[in-house]
Amino acid sequence: MELFVQQVITGLATGGIYASIALAVVMIYQAIDHFNFSQGEMAMFSTFVAWQLIVWGVPFWIAFFLTVAVSFVAGLFLFRVILKPIHDGPALSQIVVFIGLLCIFNSLAGTLWDFTVKPFPSPFPEGNIGSSLVSGHDLGMIGVTLAMLLAVYVFFRFSTMGLLVRAAAQNPASARLCGVRILWVTALGWGLAAAIGAVAGMLVAHKVFLEPNMMYSIIVYGFAAAVVGGLDSPGGAVVGGFLVGVIDNLCGVFVPAGDELKLTFALVLIVAVLMFRPTGLFGKRVVKRV
């Protein structure tokens, strides 16, 4: 029982990582209607930018917000420059472009900053809280994630811009016929996704240490979390993140052979969830009529 509680708590702490990334995944999904496979590497690159600023002596919070702003602009331009020409091309071609971007960011980061692990500072108090299993950073990370969730929720639910981003992703042709300048709206979505990714990257980096391959596996869990929670539901994605963190841990401890096949079991479980809820736990089911 004690082990169970322990694993649930560490699972929640790890789940915070996935939740923050899942939020960025949902953001980009709302903007372009599918995944951006290079998103993890973009977040990693942003985090390196922040790290470089801090090494140069910029105070943490200034570096933090500067990085968020730079990432927003970079995301916007990435869309305008690289993706605009193929934004209405087939999804598979876009995926190949994303894979290309993934390779480029990873390789550039490795060349610029090397592969040795780098500590990334945390703005939150050091040390443990309560049960000694959760650090101040873990709680801070969860707090920031929830704050971002609120912001994303408000953006999509109540702001006109958020509405237009969703409309442009769901039906670009129809959005244009409503007078929406979809290329700018989509670019805005990219910018916001890049900014959220940057925040997530900076939160995660303290926990897992910064290096160019930092996001390889985190993004997998982030995708899984977003899909389990529901790709059109920011709240669902965050819940999905915590769920994936806890399930992954519990599989490792309580399932026979789970220590070796932890990831496999977690993924099987996720696919099983999708069998019964094909649009995720909190996703809206679209009944198409013809």
């Binding site: 322990q6 500590p119 995660v204």
Partner: protein
């Protein structure tokens, strides 16, 4: 009609394929060797999930560049061809064949990884290509009777595991051991060898063993589980960021066992410092190299020379990366082998020379660690010294242990 269009488009592509390949070049008498040069092949992952080790190839190239600037080896300049295999065994096979059959290198040097080298083990031995100083601690690189062309360099995992096992058995009362290991060829072999080192008592002493995947984002869960097993000894067989994470996490949750860390991760600058030097206090490991980031070597002659070399030949390299020291020492070992072989640089002669190293000391090896090989001993480095981290530096204690 339907088939016709298929058939006529298909050959086009093959013609295109043919265009991409070059034709064979004539055979040389001594493969890869001319009056003025010798060609050496190397493969490391420059891309993919193991790209962190790519710098070993670049550092190797930089080291031979320095040797060339100093007049080369017996008047021959070294042509160092280094290729990328993304740590994918099929790709290693392809790149190895490229080096041997197209580049026509004299020998293969410092190829990284157990699965990757396993994939070419048969090939190089059938073909008789020196396969020297494999970067892997597996025992299989020291079987001269079966594989006379393959040789390791670093101490084997078995040897290192044995050192810790022996230390635990004779110095710890009632050891309860928790093991963290990477679930791959490296971690599993290491763990198995450690169990062998403990002998029959292994099952009683080891109270928990947790594998992690190199794809796991965080290993908090495993460390917490080990801590809750009440182990008083922590055997930490983890690499790079997982080593850093586990050191910090163990400290964070207040777990204070006797902490053994595998030597691959024993770097002050790239592992302990990111985790926190205070959190790393008390870590025990066995080393054979000078850690260039350890302050105790700040005024060491080797270390200074290494520093100057990094500045001049590999300025983009990271000085906190231990593998830059590793590559430097390995490169000097090979330079010795070739120098000793003299003017007969046939592959047989190179292999003979590699199998006859006597008490060689190369820069960046710990004082007292000497390289020895013989026709029936293909394990070049077989001594290590136990060290304990005091919050600043690794303090050596005890003698240099010879492991054979």
């Amino acid at each position: 009609m339907k088939r016709s269009s298929f058939a006529f488009r298909c050959p086009l592509s093959l013609v295109a394929g043919l265009g991409m390949v070059a034709l064979a070049s004539p055979l040389a008498a001594q493969e890869g060797v001319t009056e003025t040069s010798i060609k050496i092949g190397n493969i490391v992952p420059y891309s993919g999930s193991a790209s962190a080790y790519g710098n070993i190839g670049e550092a190797g190239a930089a080291c031979f560049e320095m040797i060339n600037d100093k007049g080369g080896i017996n008047g021959r300049t070294v042509e160092f061809v280094t290729l990328d295999d993304s740590y994918s065994p099929p790709k290693t096979v392809e790149q190895t064949r490229k080096l041997v059959e197209r580049e026509r290198v004299a020998l293969l040097f410092n190829i990284l990884g157990t699965p990757t080298n396993s994939a070419i083990h048969e090939y190089v031995n059938q073909r008789g290509v020196p396969h020297l100083f494999v970067i892997s601690g597996h025992q299989k690189w020291g079987q001269p009777d079966k594989y006379p062309w393959s040789m390791g360099w670093q101490p084997t995992n078995a040897a290192e595991a044995g050192v810790y096992a022996a230390y635990i058995k004779s110095n710890v009362d009632n050891p309860k051991i928790g093991v963290l290991y990477q679930n791959d060829d490296y971690g599993k072999e290491w763990y198995d060898e450690f169990r062998k080192g403990l002998g029959d008592a292994a099952d009683d002493m080891i109270v928990a063993a947790e594998p992690y995947e190199s794809a796991d984002p965080s290993i908090d869960s495993q460390v917490v589980k080990l801590a809750s097993s009440d182990a008083n000894v922590f055997l930490n067989i983890s690499l790079s960021k997982f080593a850093t994470q586990s050191i910090r996490k163990a400290d964070e949750i207040g777990w204070k066992p006797l902490h053994f860390l595998n030597s691959v991760s024993a770097s002050v600058g790239s592992i302990l410092e990111p985790a926190g030097l205070d959190k790393s206090e008390g870590i025990i490991t066995a080393v054979y190299l000078k850690d260039p980031t350890d302050p105790q070597f700040a005024d060491d002659a080797d270390r200074k020379e290494w520093d100057a070399w990094m500045d001049k030949y590999y300025p983009e390299g990271d000085k906190t990366n231990v593998f830059n020291g590793y590559a430097y020492a390995a490169c000097h070992t090979l330079a010795h082998v070739l120098e000793q072989a003299g003017d007969d640089l046939s592959r047989e002669s190179i292999m003979r020379s590699a199998a006859n190293i006597e008490d060689l000391e190369v820069p960046m090896l710990l004082p007292g660690v000497k390289i020895n090989t013989a026709p029936d001993d293909f394990y070049p480095i077989e001594s290590m010294q136990l060290v304990r981290f005091n919050g600043q530096t690794f303090e050596r204690f005890g003698e240099v242990v010879s492991l054979d």
